[in-house]
Symmetry: C2
Subunit: 184 residues, 2 copies
DNA sequence: GTACACATGTAACCGGTTACATGATTGC
DNA sequence: GCAATCATGTAACCGGTTACATGTGTAC
């Protein structure tokens, strides 16, 4: 269903591990306990994904110095992994992203801020805001063009959709002004 | 990605065909031209899904009376298909739905209204509203508990999430009062 | 000694995605 | 005759889901 050829989970893992190296188990906990759960973290997705990234050379396994025999594989991103993450963060914000991958854009925003800093985050937000506003306008036009013979249910449903994009637009504007008025 | 074992597309097709029988091509157009596109409608998903539903006896193919040799398979829901749709429409609204399948809930709301009528739509909205409000509260508590050491980016991101659920909650309330003040 | 949390992994199943293939009909 | 649109279909690929399997450490 989701529409994300190079899977989001990959970048969620890369980003989390770039913040601080940890094990698959730790990652699964972060997914389970935070809104990150949207990007899922079932064992059947996390462990295979970690191994794929490892084989691609985007992660390295730092052998745990632990004395106890308890196995625990700590992963950290390599230079190549960080490079791939950066490339993802620099992708343009498209209307398709806004339609199909709002959550992913939100995740990208956070990582853009944390890994690239304030200026890039501002630029990202500006592009994000623009696409959100444009899509809200498009949906509004669609709504007005078709609302004629519609049932109240369909109408209400599309209205909440439009309001959602408008809310996001206002949020982006507020975020921009907050970031602007910030020291650092 | 998404978290929907009995797939949404199935019910989107069932619901659309219950409104009026049509062909796979027509369905694809409806997906392409409306916000239904979220539930996708690539040929590789629609046609196989249609055939699956046909084999399950949920759809019947009404042979086109067309004189021209142009092939066009018109599908219509059977009694069994309509029954299955109704069962889906009567599923309780859960927090998991709110987290992972907001769009699907929105689709269900429309179909509940169109196929079951105003009273069931009101009951659906009440349940929907309750789950939305509760999850917004939960997220707010989470936010307050963790906002201490967070970067502005993570904070902003979770804030827009919370606002989204609040917006949906208010929408449900408004929809309830609109439906209440309606003749029919 | 037993229950629970830690920790990792695997396999069957399912269905969506892209990309391609096929052919009929319509308009010019 | 040719292009565009109508209309349906298929196959390779991918990865997420559930459910199960396995074994270790810790607390009681």
């Amino acid at each position: 269903m989701s529409k994300t050829p190079p899977t989001v989970l990959k970048f969620a893992l890369l980003g989390l591990l770039a913040q601080s190296p940890c094990s698959g188990y730790d990652l699964r906990k972060q997914f389970a306990e935070t809104p990150l759960k949207l990007f899922s973290g079932s064992p059947g997705s996390v462990y295979p994904a970690l191994h794929r990234l490892h084989e691609l050379g985007l992660l390295e396994e730092t052998s745990p110095p632990s004395a106890t025999g308890r196995r625990k594989q700590i992963f950290a991103v390599t230079a190549a992994g960080r490079a791939e993450l950066i490339v993802w963060l620099q992708q343009p914000v498209t209307r398709d992203d806004v339609i199909w991958s709002l959550h992913e854009l939100q995740l990208r925003f956070v990582f853009v801020g944390e890994f690239l800093g304030r200026e890039p985050a501002v630029r990202f937000l500006e592009a994000f805001r623009k696409e959100l506003a444009e899509y809200a306008v498009y949906l509004t036009a669609f709504h007005e063009a078709t609302s004629a013979g519609e049932s109240p249910y369909g109408r209400l449903s599309i209205e909440v959709g439009i309001e959602g994009y408008r809310l996001h637009t206002r949020w982006a504007e507020r975020a921009l002004s907050e970031l602007a008025s910030e020291d650092s």
